[in-house]
Symmetry: C2
């Protein structure tokens, strides 16, 4: 019997329907076979001139900025969705509202090695990326025009990555996006009723229930959400209540990087290194201290092409229950 | 300069960023080359036994049910996301809420001809489909367990279609999906302030402004929305205020079918018959008479693969403004 499950924070309903698994090709694994290095990868060492000047870098020794010798670079996106220059101007057009496209759009180039990915069990690369994100958020938050800073990673062409060299992105926005606002409102409503953070409640409940618990260490817990929109959707939560990602401590960074490297390893073995999206859900810039909000990471492999109408409706059909996906991932642990 | 535009109904912000067009491959046209007919297409005449028995059919002459001789068939989905049988049971699990997966999931097989599509300028085929949707909605609404009936069409594999034979789908749900609820609440808020339907206001404003108006006839208007999430996103509105799609009149059906056939023709010529999603936005079953809600059709070609993180954030980046997309589509009219 299929089940409709409700996400306790956003209120989204999801159909968990095992029946749909019987369809021919109920999901599609896109094997990323193309491991050739393109001739002029703008993210490879030696090609630093192909990107705008770096905003942040991790360099060994005394290598000068914008040349080789780095472990990681953050640079403005060459084709930015938003521009840093200009004043924030709000205006109307008939019925409608618009804002000038002020913001920042940066790329974190996570490694000098073109072929290295998050599936390669390299916790140090993941740690460098998260630390760079923290550093860029702290810097960009000084600009009070920005209301929200979104950090995300698209891996592989079906997840939206146009370049194969491993990278993450950061977009600073002059507005708080709708889904973020909804998540915050959902968490606030729970707090108003119970005086408890809903994410802390989820962490405690899932730790006891165990069925959807994939991994944990001293600082971080990795779960399959109760009402996942996508097969093998996962979430990582810090155990310490904290609304702002940029307040992550060094030991927490270690714990998060280690558990992400381990989790991605399992996903990669089970699902042949799928394309994926990873998003840091963070508090808005100007309300970053909150009892009711708890930063976290969302991970979604791109498996199904059945998602067409979900954009328009907010309604999701998922053929694999989170309990089943966690069990399969556990079975994919190296022995 | 990029622009952030706000959808006046849902409140979603969209970045219209021409800069992003400069990227290599800023969108991808997947040319649907595979026009071979698979050996055992369950939707082709002669294979009626491969589907569950029909719930509705358009038959010429006196051909018996579940055999050949039809123009259109509606049948239950063989791999339904929800089941008709059973009682609606709501229950909890710790923090969470769930409902038994009661509902209906049907397929409308739109034509006996395997190769025919909505791009083929066949208004009669589109009319048959819309009429079948109307008829199935009226029938399914008698079951009071259903709160919302969703009609949608996925065309092509990247839009989520698993079978190439032209078809639409209908899902009757025991809950109102979140995005539908938000759209309704947005429309209600406008009505409470102004005592006017926001969709009627949009139709009037866009008709005068013209920049985003693609086509109109006596009954229907086709627009590019002010804040489109996707390139070449379009919407069709009936000119007469009406909240329930199933109350469409015969002349309105004629007008809608003709304008959709014409619009799809332009899209097909300009964008090489792209994969697409089409959704009927309708009022909920139990609140289908409303001054503030106005049924409409949403059309989204699947062009970009840049949409990865949009699911999680509700934030969209669109490299093509609606004004530009309408102009390009107008230029693609046959002379």
């Amino acid at each position: 019997m299929p089940e409709l499950r409700k996400d306790p924070i956003t209120g989204t309903w999801v159909i968990i329907s095992e029946e749909r698994k019987k369809r021919p090709k109920y999901y599609e694994i896109v094997v990323n076979k193309d491991i050739s290095i393109p001739e002029n990868c703008p993210f490879c060492p030696g090609n630093e001139g192909m990107t705008p000047p770096e905003t942040h870098a991790l360099r060994s020794g005394h290598s000068p900025a914008n040349g080789p010798g780095w472990e990681l670079r953050a640079v403005p996106n060459k084709f930015p969705a938003l521009r840093v220059e200009g004043t924030l101007r709000k205006s109307g057009e008939g019925l409608y509202d618009k804002i000038s496209g002020i913001g920042a759009h940066e790329v974190i180039i996570e490694t000098p090695e073109h072929r290295k990915t998050w599936f390669d069990n390299d916790a140090a690369m993941i740690r460098n990326t998260l630390l760079a994100a923290k550093s860029r958020i702290i810097d960009l938050k000084k600009d009070t025009r920005f209301k929200y800073i979104m950090v995300f990673k698209n891996f592989g062409p079906t997840a939206g990555a146009t370049l194969s060299h491993s990278h993450s992105q950061l977009i600073a926005l002059p507005v708080v996006p709708l889904r973020v606002q909804e998540e915050i409102e959902g968490a606030r409503a729970h707090f108003e009723r119970k005086e408890r953070c809903i994410f802390c409640d989820i962490i405690q409940y899932e730790n006891e229930a165990e069925r959807r618990l994939l991994a944990e260490n001293e600082h971080v817990i990795v779960l399959a959400p109760y009402a996942p929109r996508f097969s093998f959707e996962l979430a990582a939560y810090p155990k310490r209540h904290e609304s702002a990602f940029e307040n992550i401590s060094d030991p927490e960074l270690d714990g998060l990087s280690a558990i992400l490297a381990e989790t991605l390893g399992q996903v990669g073995r089970l699902l042949s290194r799928p394309d994926f999206n990873l998003i840091i859900h963070n508090a808005p810039c100007q309300n970053s201290v909150a009892d009711f909000y708890h930063w976290h990471i969302e991970f979604m492999p791109v498996l199904a092409r059945v998602a067409g109408f979900e954009w328009g409706t907010g309604f999701y059909i998922n053929p694999i229950s989170p309990e089943e996906s966690v069990q399969s991932l556990k079975d994919a642990r190296p022995r």
